[in-house]
């Protein structure tokens, strides 16, 4: 299958600190790619770099073969490339409802905002209950749900999801993975960053392992051996 | 011979407008003096902006003295003149002004301090006019600043002594809506006349509120920058029939050669009608220049003789007779009152200075 999203020898970081060192990966259309790796490996940074929130020092990012390295975040979003960040990236002083409506901001999504909102409320009844609450006062897990729901309002074609299960109760974690599977079934291209390797591998078509800003393993999902993966984590521990 | 005069005035800040007016009068006096003494003497004036700040007024005076001026003319606002003239006194430098009328200034008894106008003179004019109108009840609307409240209280005292009922209404400089205040005047005081003591923007505010509320009065009287050509032009439909202090009628009449000369020069230099501040700035500077020349002839200019020479002044000027008492005040000072009549300012008080009939009773609305 032709790669939909292609990251080539990417270097990026924050100001003087470089985090990603020549990271290359390809993401095939319609597949679910899982990126795992220890804390601080640069997974979030990679997603942010793809979205244009972190400046790229060298290398390239291509979507459908065209470079998006110099595209502004807001234009990338219009192409259907969407990132669902962790729960802290909500709009804290707007209501839950306004947060969700902001998800529908890209012009193509505005038409369907009502239906999409209903879908989100069905997925997360807690958000429907709290639709008028100021988002900054939500509990950690509620905020996480809001971030996911808001991302779904953007009607993504390619969806980068950063640790969706963070801080969620076990029941909700189940729910989240059910949603991911549902999205996958709809044919979405998904890039999933997860700490919960166990669960993530079950939905993975392809797996990357990142460590200290580099890709150290790239394998088909069904070929991955969990024990070997964890052993590689340990290798990092010892090296550090 | 070249003479350098110093002038410290607010050219920016709250008092920028009035400072500008006075500096224009000073410039006219210098211009006329240069013409009068052409070939013999030249005069120059250095003006420093005190930015409406007492500390900068002091600094300005010190700087002017350091630059070797022979005397100081200017200053506006009693609060700035106080410290500034104190600095001048310390250096033995003559400070001549018309910008501060409070008794405190002359109360200090400085040898070097002179001014040609004072609160009493303004009060005399207001009371004289109101007395001639034979009003029984007056509401005084005044700004809570020093010069204004001093004058208002003097007017109150004098009117009360004459058996007139006086209502006092103090307001703050931040007031921009005068309707509640005037409504009180209208419904509670029900005066025959309203006397205003404030500055231009206050007057416009009061008159506009009055125009809206239409209290049943016979006259509206004010002081300072009110009966001026400037106000007649800027606010034609607000000023009609309003009385205010004014030394010259507008347009100036041919019976007054010096006045004609003054207003011509003014028009030439600044392309507008002289306003009342210009008149004072002109008069004080003219007197100062004459005294400087006298002192220099007597050879006492650089020996502190200027103050003595000024004290000998006895002159008929645009603002009437000027002499100085030992405190530097001008006891003769009494203002005249004018009235806005169809875009002109007609002198209506005192009777001997009047050049027209006053409209009375007459309201601005």
């Amino acid at each position: 299958m032709a790669p939909l999203l292609e990251i080539a020898t990417l270097r990026a970081g924050y100001g003087a600190i470089n985090i990603l060192w020549n990271v290359s990966l390809t993401i095939a259309e319609g597949q679910t790619t899982v990126i795992v790796g220890p804390n601080g490996a640069g997974k979030t940074t990679l997603l942010r770099a793809i979205m244009g929130l972190v400046p790229v020092a060298s290398g390239d990012i291509r979507l459908n073969g065209a470079s998006i390295r110099n595209r502004a975040t807001w234009d990338t979003v219009k192409d259907g490339l969407v990132m669902i960040p962790e729960g802290r990236m909500i709009f804290p002083d707007m209501t839950v409802e306004d947060n969700l409506m902001m998800g529908a901001f890209p012009p193509a999504c505005r038409r369907n905002w009502k239906a999409n909102r209903q879908m989100v409320f069905d997925l997360f009844p807690r958000l429907a209950q709290r639709h008028d609450q100021i988002a900054g006062t939500l509990s950690g897990g509620e905020a996480q749900m809001l971030a996911i729901g808001r991302g779904l309002m953007e009607q993504p074609r390619v969806c980068l999801i950063d640790e969706p299960s963070l801080g969620l109760a076990p029941v909700m974690v189940d729910e989240i993975f059910r949603i991911v599977e549902h999205l996958k079934a709809q044919g979405l291209t998904i890039v999933l960053v997860e700490q919960n390797t166990n669960r993530a591998l079950k939905v993975a078509d392809h797996v990357y392992l990142m460590q200290s800003g580099k890709v150290v393993l790239s394998e088909r999902g069904d070929a991955v051996n969990l024990d070997r993966l964890h052993a590689l984590y340990f290798a990092h521990e010892e090296a550090a | 011979k070249d003479y350098l005069l110093g002038s410290q005035l607010p050219l920016s800040g709250n008092l920028a407008r009035v400072g500008q007016g006075m500096s224009e009068g000073i410039a006219v006096a210098v211009d006329l003096a240069n013409k009068q003494y052409a070939g013999k003497h030249t005069f120059k004036v250095t003006t420093i902006d005190d930015e409406t700040s007492p500390a900068k007024g002091v600094a300005a005076v010190e700087k002017l003295i350091a630059q070797g001026v022979v005397a100081l003319t200017g200053g506006y606002g009693s609060n700035i003149i106080g410290p500034a003239s104190e600095a001048a006194q310390k250096a033995g430098m003559v400070y001549m002004t018309s910008g501060g009328v409070t008794p405190d200034l002359t109360g200090r008894g400085y040898k070097t301090f002179f001014r040609i106008n004072n609160t009493e003179g303004y009060a005399k004019a207001m009371i004289g006019l109101l007395g001639d109108m034979q009003v029984k009840k007056v509401s005084v609307v005044y700004l809570n600043k020093e010069a204004t409240s001093n004058l208002a209280k003097q007017v109150q005292a004098d009117l009360t002594a004459k058996g007139v009922t006086v209502g006092m209404h103090e307001f703050d400089g931040a007031t921009s809506d005068f309707k509640p205040l005037l409504n009180k005047v209208k419904l509670q005081d029900r005066p025959d006349a309203i006397a205003m003591v404030g500055y231009e923007n206050d007057y416009v505010g009061v008159l506009r509120a009055a125009k809206v509320l239409k209290p049943d009065v016979k006259a509206v009287v004010g002081v300072w920058s009110l009966a001026t050509a400037q106000m007649a032009k800027e606010f034609p439909d607000l000023m009609e029939n309003v009385y205010g202090t004014s030394m010259l009628p507008y347009p100036v009449e041919f019976t007054q050669p010096e006045a004609i000369e003054f207003s011509k020069t003014y028009a030439r230099l600044f392309n507008k009608e002289p306003d009342y501040l210009g008149q004072f700035g002109y008069v004080q500077t003219k007197l100062l220049i004459e005294a400087v020349l006298r002192a220099d002839e007597a050879g006492t200019l650089d020996k502190g003789g200027l103050a003595d020479e000024l004290r000998k002044t006895d002159a008929q000027t645009l603002i009437g007779r000027v002499t100085f008492d030992e405190k530097g005040d001008n006891p003769n000072f009494s203002h005249r009152m004018g009235q806005h009549q169809q875009g002109k300012v007609v002198l209506v008080w005192p009777p001997e200075a009047a050049n027209g009939k006053m409209n009375f009773p007459a309201r601005p609305w």
Partner: protein, 318 residues
């Protein structure tokens, strides 16, 4: 290098400046005025940088300090030098009245203090018996001659205000280095995080407010005896708030000396240079200067100077 910088600067300030400019009352007067602003700027920056509270009403403390000292010396014959401390004390006491505002944050706090400044000004205008009302106080006693030095002169005033500023900056620096300073610095972003580790943040902030008010009050008292004149509009003028803020930020409000350097730079440039060049619109140039500074060096002047001196290593927040 850095070790000798402060003593050298002090030597220059105490000896060289009076020698060089003592004969020119105009320049000396401007330097004193600049230091007056600088003193308030230090007090303001102390509150802003350590307490995390931006005040838009330091004129309140300046005015209370100046009236306290002026009235005490005129009515009760308190000597002006003692009046300085009493002025500071008066302002510190006045700051207690403002302490309910400590519950407020950011602009809410800033404007609450501004409201106090307005209120104090109106009270000073209305309390005619004590303050002389709108007419103000003329001929406030000047500083005495001590040990043959005429403290009432321009140079004497210079020495006094310089000492006030130096002591204030030293106090500021000392607090900043202490655990108090760390806690205060940490408090701006996450007050709650400091409270749950035992920091009584409100008390600390109250102490900083009182100290800042005290310094400002002393400076106000100094100014009253130096200018020998007071009136409400002047003593509580917004200029006593605005200029120090501009000076502090211009100089670098996160540093100890930045506010003083900023005050000297802005005031002296404005009065000595811009006013010469453009007698009528010199504030226009001042505005340009402020705008330019923020765009070119957002950290203020002091960091630039610091970088020059040390080869550019230190953190802006240090």
């Amino acid at each position: 290098m850095k070790r000798f910088l402060v003593p050298a600067a002090l030597a220059v300030a105490y000896v060289a400046v009076p020698l060089a400019f003592g004969g020119n009352p105009y320049v000396m007067g401007l330097i004193v005025a600049a230091l007056t602003i600088g003193g308030i700027a230090v007090a303001w920056a102390l509150l802003g940088n350590l307490g995390g509270m931006v005040s838009f009403g330091h004129a309140a403390f300046f005015g209370v300090g100046s009236y306290t000292s002026a009235v005490l010396s005129m009515k009760l014959g308190v000597p002006p030098l003692a009046g300085l401390l009493l002025g500071g004390l008066g302002a510190a006491i006045a700051s207690i009245a403002t302490m309910p505002a400590l519950r407020l944050k950011g602009p809410y706090f800033a404007l609450a203090i501004l409201a106090y400044a307005h209120i104090f000004q109106i009270l000073a205008t209305e309390m005619t018996g004590v303050t002389g009302g709108a007419g103000g106080l003329l001929s406030i006693p000047r500083f005495p001659t001590l040990l043959g030095v005429d403290l009432g002169s321009k140079t004497g005033g210079y020495v006094i205000i310089l000492t006030i500023v130096v002591l204030s900056a030293a106090a500021y620096a000392a607090i900043r280095r202490s655990a108090w300073g760390l806690a205060l610095k940490a408090m701006h972003d996450t007050e709650i995080a400091t409270r749950v580790i035992g920091v009584p943040s409100t008390h600390l902030k109250a102490a900083m407010l009182a100290l800042s008010a005290f310094i400002t009050g002393v400076v106000g008292a100094f100014n009253a005896h130096f200018i020998n004149f007071l009136e409400p509009d002047y003593a509580f003028s917004g200029a006593w708030t605005v200029l120090p803020i501009a000076a502090a930020i211009f100089g670098g409000y996160r540093t100890v000396w930045g506010p003083v350097i900023g005050a000297l730079t802005i005031y002296l440039l404005d009065q000595l240079v811009f006013k010469e060049l453009m007698p009528h619109g010199h504030q226009f140039v001042l505005g340009m200067l402020l705008v330019g500074m923020i765009l070119l060096s957002p950290g203020g002047l002091a960091p630039i100077l610091g970088r020059r001196l040390e080869g550019g290593q230190r953190h802006a927040h240090a």
